[in-house]
Symmetry: C2
DNA sequence: GATCCGTGTGGGAACGATGTCACAGCCCTT
DNA sequence: AAGGGCTGTGACATCGTTCCCACACGGATC
């Protein structure tokens, strides 16, 4: 059974439908869109003709005329990271529900790729953009072109642009406080950056928890890791092999946690007997490994869905004041945390 | 520092650039696209004017005129599954490299959502579509509208539509043969469907490996699971608790493998001492759990990238015969497989 | 019977970019 | 000096849709 390909005939246009139904283009448009008058028998006839020709209105032409499309642009850093994949899935679901199509680009954590993608979205006249920004430039650029923007996960333009983020500071504080409470005094922090709001807030949360526990911050225990598993693993190996090893590690995201976890196992250390581990961002593997990993869970899917709702509202009211929505996170206590070695409770 | 939003002024058009540069619209078009004559001093002037106004050509208008867009549609079943996320990432990267933007929809394994998304893509006049099909209808529908299609991961319209798949049969046979070779005689298969090419081929590979080892197929050991972790886990619990338990399980994809893995651990069975496990499709967790999971690894990223290349070629030569590209897979031997209990080698 | 209204329809001008076509210069050849 | 071949530019129709406007028809009101 061969699938028929339309090679010769061009796509049917509204004009073809009009001729088939014996009416004018205007009438077809009114009948199909439901805007304006159309006698019910005529409407019937038009609908039948359209179905018969399997007519699909041309979004390009419609958008050109109406000057506003029903597409949202989505810029995420890395689809291979389950956090962003989940986020994109949430955007997709909510966008579909609201009749938007989704134009997605993976910006690979590069500011250049991000700018290029933003240009493409402006050219496409998208109704709005949801972005996990890699630089402050992207929101500025889009706003300058009159495109509504929602920054998600992290913010560069808080105050002038809508944002949807999670309670990073509280989450990080809770996680670190959990370790403090268990009796740990040497708690390492693995973090990839502290310039963006995510990193900064998580770092602050860590500091707050230490301060609340009357602990000094040891700069040697705060590791600025690269953004990938390999680098995190390397740095964790260095730290855990060194003298005066920490009794607990807080990894500020799922990628860093994976690196630390791999290093711990390569060194044959036992969790939590030798070292406790807490992560931020619940990845699937964390509930499958032995021991399971205690972590701050954030609902990435909901983050994406919420961003779409915010964007939709913004499109409806372009001049309202900007809003930052903070979603709550919670600590999932699993088996990777216990008191430090030799500690009695 | 407030980000400036363009509220009043409309976007600059080619006409604005023309006036600023003191030439006609045609000349601006020629200067910017590089098609047709434009004196170098004029070109300079136009480029400067365009940059000054931060002019971005309207893709809608261009596409309308040229009747062909530079967007590809991508329909995937489930972005939350790392396999599809990785695939989408591969598509994204290769699409960007070739100057395509990507319109993505998550079809949630539903044929309805898939059809709806396909209609939207036709309306958008995408240059082509890459789809992990949920039904035979989608490729037929798109082809009938003259849209080039590449089916990826599984095929419904082999012979009339391009496809990019992996060596499912060989991969499954290799995996099952590995178990046979270790001495297993009761090898269970967990599979979600056998109607699609993926499921069918993997099933056939399993049968071939058993036949090659002179083993009878026990229908009771072939489990048609639902498509999610919860269902797979439930069925695995049933089977592993029952009498005459298999000594090895082959799970035909990463989701089913997760369910089986969870069931095994809940029951306190040891891997591989009590039961061996082989999976198809290497998910991140498989190399992190203890013991690590032997699996047939497929390169989903490359699958996506290859599909884009195929689609690009197809767009260039719409009437060439269709091609199915098969990417090879390989068995990654890890620690979840050994001989059956009581077996001596 | 003239006017007015509501209902329904069609004509035609946009939207922004492209590309064909005509034509204006200019230099070179015969 | 006339013609031919370049180079370079602008006018204008076009893509498919929407929507404003004009208008036609019938019935109701004065």
């Amino acid at each position: 059974m061969a699938v028929e390909r339309r090679t010769t005939a061009r796509r049917p246009t509204i004009k073809d439908v009009a001729e088939a139904a014996g009416v004018s283009r205007s009438t077809v448009s009114r009948a199909l869109t439901g805007r304006g008058y159309a006698a019910s028998d005529v409407r019937e006839r038009v609908l039948r003709a359209a179905a018969e020709l399997s007519y699909v209105p041309d979004v390009m032409a419609r958008t050109l005329k109406q000057q506003v499309s029903r597409s949202v642009g989505v810029l995420v850093s890395d689809l291979r990271n389950p956090f962003y994949a989940e986020l994109a899935a949430g955007v997709s679901r909510e966008a579909r529900e609201r009749g938007y199509t989704m134009v997605l680009a993976d910006t690979s954590l590069s500011a250049d790729a991000e700018h290029e993608a933003a240009e493409a979205l402006v050219a496409l006249r998208v109704a709005g953009v949801i972005v996990t920004p890699n630089s402050p430039a992207v929101s500025t650029y889009l706003a300058a072109h009159g495109v509504p923007v929602v920054e998600v996960d992290r913010q560069f333009a808080a105050g002038s642009t809508d944002g949807v983020v999670v309670g990073n500071r509280v989450g990080a504080r809770t996680a670190a406080a959990h370790l403090v409470e268990l009796g740990h005094r040497r708690i390492a922090l693995f973090i990839d950056e502290t310039d963006w709001t995510t990193g900064y807030e998580r770092y602050q949360g860590y500091l707050e928890a230490l301060a609340a526990g009357d602990l000094q911050v040891d700069p040697g225990l705060v590791v600025s890791s690269g953004w990938d598993v390999a680098d995190s693993r390397r740095r964790a190996l260095d730290m855990l092999r060194g003298p005066d090893r920490p009794t607990a590690v807080f990894a500020a995201n799922n990628v860093l946690a994976e690196g630390v976890w791999r290093a711990i196992h390569e060194l044959g250390l036992r969790v939590p007997a030798d070292v406790s581990l807490v992560a931020f961002d619940d990845a699937p593997w964390m509930s499958m490994v032995a021991p399971t990993v205690t972590t701050v869970s954030q609902d990435a899917f909901n983050l994406g869905a919420t961003a779409v709702r915010r964007l939709d509202e913004r499109i409806g009211m372009p001049d309202a004041d900007s809003v930052t929505t903070v979603l709550n996170v919670h600590l999932v206590r699993r088996d990777s945390t216990a008191g430090p070695p030799g500690h009695r409770r």
